[in-house]
C-alpha cells in the first residue's frame, strides 16, 4: 500500500501586501482587489509532504482544497512542485462556511481518500487566522493531531516523530499513524516549481474550467486522464446539508471595528541608564519586545 499523504490547502487573498481598497466599507475583505495565492503556511505544509515523498519512494501526495472554481489554481501549483494529484471540493452549498462547516466537509473528503497515513495542513490561513480547521478536521476524523510542527524528524509506515515550535521553545512528540499535522511558518519554505512538472501539468483542468477554455484540447484529456482535476460536490461527499455553509456555521459576526492605529499620549524620558532600564522593563512588561 502506498504511503498516502493528504495536504489540506486553501487559496486566500494576499493580505500581506494590502492597499487602500483591501477592505470593503462593511469591514469584510475585498477579495476582488487582492490577488489570490496559495496560503503561505499551507505551502510549508506541502513542503513537509514532499520531503517525506523524497524519502519514502512509495509515498503519494494528494492536495485537497475547498473553495470556488478558481481554487484549482493551487492544485496545479502543488502539482508543479511534486504533488501527485488533487481534488477540488466546490459547491454553492459550501458558501459561507465557518471553520466548523469547513472541517466537516474536509473530513468527509479525507475519509473518501482512506486509507491514508498523514493529513498535513498549514497552521492557519492568512485571511482568517483562526488555526482551527486543522485540529477540527483531525477531531472529526478521530485521529491524533500535532499542531505547530516545524520539522518531521522521522516517519515510517506506523509512526511519526515531530518537532513542534512553541512560544517558549520546542517540543518533540511521537504519534501513531494516521495522524494530522499542522505546520508552522518557521518550517522550511516550499521548494520551487519543477520545470518538467510544470510543463506536464500546466494543462490540468477541472471540468468546469474546461468549459471556459478557448482552445480545444479534447484529445489531450482523453490521452492523459491525469490532467483532469476532479471536483467534488456536497453530494459526492454525502454531506448532510444542514451541516454545510451558513446553516452549518455557528459563528456569528457580532461587530466589525475599523481600528486606526494612532498615538494618544506621549511620555518624555531622559537618557540615564536608570530611565532606559525603566523603559525596557515597561516594553517587556507590555510584550512589545522580548
Amino acid at each position: 500500500m502506498r504511503f498516502r499523504i493528504i495536504v489540506l490547502a486553501k487559496q486566500v487573498p494576499d493580505t500581506r501586501n494590502v492597499g487602500k481598497d483591501a477592505m470593503k466599507a462593511d469591514g469584510t475583505v475585498n477579495r476582488a482587489a487582492l490577488p489570490a495565492i496559495f496560503n503561505p503556511e499551507d505551502l510549508h505544509a506541502l513542503e513537509q509532504a514532499l520531503s517525506i515523498k523524497d524519502k519514502l519512494p512509495h509515498a503519494e501526495v494528494i492536495l485537497l482544497t475547498m473553495g470556488p472554481f478558481r481554487a484549482a489554481e493551487i492544485i496545479r501549483e502543488a502539482m508543479y512542485r511534486g504533488a501527485d494529484r488533487g481534488y477540488l471540493i466546490t459547491d454553492r452549498k459550501f458558501a459561507g462556511s465557518d471553520t466548523l462547516a469547513t472541517s466537516y466537509a474536509l473530513s468527509l473528503a479525507v475519509k473518501k481518500l482512506a486509507p491514508y497515513h498523514l493529513v498535513i495542513s498549514g497552521r492557519q490561513a492568512i485571511d482568517g487566522d483562526t488555526a482551527q480547521v486543522g485540529p477540527q478536521t483531525a477531531e472529526k476524523l478521530g485521529i491524533p493531531q500535532i499542531t505547530y510542527a516545524e520539522e518531521i524528524l522521522s516517519v515510517d509506515a506506523k509512526k511519526i516523530i515531530v518537532k513542534r515550535r512553541l512560544e517558549m521553545g520546542v517540543e518533540v512528540v511521537n504519534s501513531t499513524l494516521p495522524a494530522a499535522i499542522t505546520v508552522h511558518g518557521s518550517a522550511p519554505v516550499c521548494r520551487q516549481r519543477v520545470a518538467k512538472l510544470l510543463m506536464k501539468y500546466k494543462h490540468a483542468r477541472t471540468v468546469t474550467e474546461l468549459q471556459n477554455e478557448t482552445k480545444d484540447y479534447t484529445e489531450l484529456y482523453n490521452d492523459r486522464p491525469y490532467l483532469l482535476i476532479e471536483e467534488w460536490t456536497a453530494e459526492d461527499l454525502n454531506a448532510q446539508s444542514e451541516m454545510l455553509g451558513l446553516s452549518g456555521s455557528p459563528t456569528k459576526v457580532k461587530k466589525i471595528e475599523n481600528v486606526v492605529f494612532q498615538h494618544k499620549d506621549s511620555k518624555v524620558m531622559g537618557s540615564s541608564d536608570k530611565e532606559i532600564e525603566g523603559l525596557m522593563q515597561e516594553l517587556i512588561g507590555s510584550h512589545i519586545i522580548g
Partner: protein, 567 residues
Amino acid sequence: MENFYNDNPHLKFHLNHPLMEKIVKLKESGYTQKEKYDFAPLDFEDAIDNYDKVMEIIGEISGEIIAPNAESVDKEGPQLIDNEVKYARGTQQNYDALVKAGLVGFTLPREYDGLNVPTVPYVMSGEIVSRADAGFANIWGLQDCAETIHEFGSEELKAEFLPRFYKGATAAMDLTEPDAGSDLQAVQLKATYDIHKHRWILDGVKRFITNGDADISLVLARSEEGTSDARGLSLFVYDRADNAVTVRRIENKLGIKGSPTCELVFHNAPAKLIGDTKLGLIKYVMSLMNSARLGVGSQSVGIAEAAYREAFKYANEREQFGKSIIKYPAVFEMLTNMKVKIDAMRTLLYETARYVDVYKAYNFTSHERKLEPEERQEAKVYQKLADMFTPLVKLYSSEQCNQIAYDSIQIFGGTGYMKDFPIERIYRDARITTIYEGTSQLQVVAAIRYVGNGGYLANMRERAQQLVKPELEYLKGTLEKMTEQFAKTVEKVNEFGDNEYFDFHARRMVEMAANVLIGYMLLFDANRSDVYVKSADIFIRKGRSENIASVSFINNCHPKDVNDFKM
C-alpha cells in the same frame, strides 16, 4: 515576491519575437515529441508558454534566492579544502535550487533529461541570473559545456555525460594556461594516448579556470607531439571522479568573487576525446567560445540592468538642494543614457541569439534528415550572421555594462563608494566582462573582418529594405546617411593599403558599424512596440554624433600619424 523575469517586460518582448515561430518549429521537429514525452509542447503557443513559465521559475529563484545571497557570497567566496573547492554557502544554495527545479542542462534534448530549450531563453536565463549575481551566472552558464558535448561528442560520450547535468553536475572549460591566454594556439597541456589501456592521458597546468573543480571538464590539450599551433590541439572530457587533478589554488579576484577561479595541475589524468583529434581549437573551442561570448553578453546586460535599477532607485530617493537628484539634467541624462544603452545591448543580444538558434536547429535537423537545398542555404546565412554579430555582442555589451556600472556609482556619489550598497559589488563584477572570453581588443580583431569584406555594410543595406511606420521614417533616413558615411570612411582607410593604419582605426570602424546596426535593430523594435521609440531616437542621434566624431578623427589622421602613438 521578487521575480526578475516578471518585473522586466522587455524580456517577454524579446521572447515573443516573430522569428521564434520558425526557431521553435525547427527545434521541436514540428511538435512530434508530445507522443513520447508528457512535458513536450503541443504547438507553438504551448512551447512559448513553456519558455515563459521556465523563465518565471528562474526569475523567482533569482529574485528570492540568488540576489539575497549575493552579498554573503561576495564576502565569503569559495574555499579550497583538501583539494576540493567548496562553494560559499549561498552559492551552494543557489545551485541546489536550480537543480531541484530541474533546470540544469535544460537546453539538452529530452532524451538526455533536458527541456530542449532554444538559445534565446537560455541566454535570457543568463541575463536574469546575472542581474541577481553575476559571479553565480558563470557557474550557471558553464552548462554550455553540455552543448559542446552534445554537438560534437560521440553517442557513447553523450550517453555517459549528458544525463548527469539534469542531476546537477557542474562543468568547466579548461582552456587558458600560464602562457596561453588570448593566444590559445600556444596551449601545451599534453595529451598522450596510452595504447595499452586504450585511453588518453592528460598532463600539465591550466590557469584561471572558472569552476575548475567541476564534475565534468572540457580540456583543451596538445595531442599531436611536435606541433606548436592550433592544428595540434584536441578537446577532451575529464571526469572529476577520476581524481587526477590537483587544485593548486583559488585566485583572489577583484569581482565575481563567488565564482571559483582555479589553477589546476593534471597528473596522468584519464580523459575522453571529443569528436576528432586536431579539431579541438579550430572547431570545437571556437564554437564553445561563441556561446561563451554570448554568455558574457547576457551577463553584461544583467549587470547593467542591476546597476541601472540601483541608480534609478537611489536618484529618486536622494534629495539635495531641496529636491530629488533625478530632477537635475546632469543626473537624468545619465539615467536615460543607461536605459537606452540597455535597450540597445539587449536587442543586439537576442537578435544574435536568434541567429544562433536558427543555424543550430538546422544543424541538428540535418542529423535526422537531409536538409533541402534552400534550408542548407539558409543555415549558412544564419551561421554567418551569428559569427558576424557575436563579437559585436561581446564588445558592445561588456563595454557599455562597465560604463553603466561606473555611472551608477557616480549617481550614488560618496555613498556608492562605500560597501553599504550593492552597487560597489556590481561595479567590481562588471570589470571582468571586457576581459574574459576574449578581450574587447580581440573582439575587434574578430569583427574587423566583416568591415574589411563588406559583411556589415551589406547587412546595413539589407536592413534598409525593411519597411517602417511613416513616423519612424526619419530615423531610417539618419541610419541611411550613417551607412553611406561608414562605407566612405572604410573605403578611405583602405585606400592607403597600409595594414597597420587599418588596424589602428579598426575599433573606430567596428564601433561605427555597431552604431548603425544596433540603430536598425532598435528602430525595428520601435516599429513593433512604441515602448522603444524613445530609445531608438536617442540611440540613433547619439550614434550619429559619435560616428561623426570618429570620421573627423580618421579624416585628420594620416598613416604616418600612427607613429606618434607608438611607445
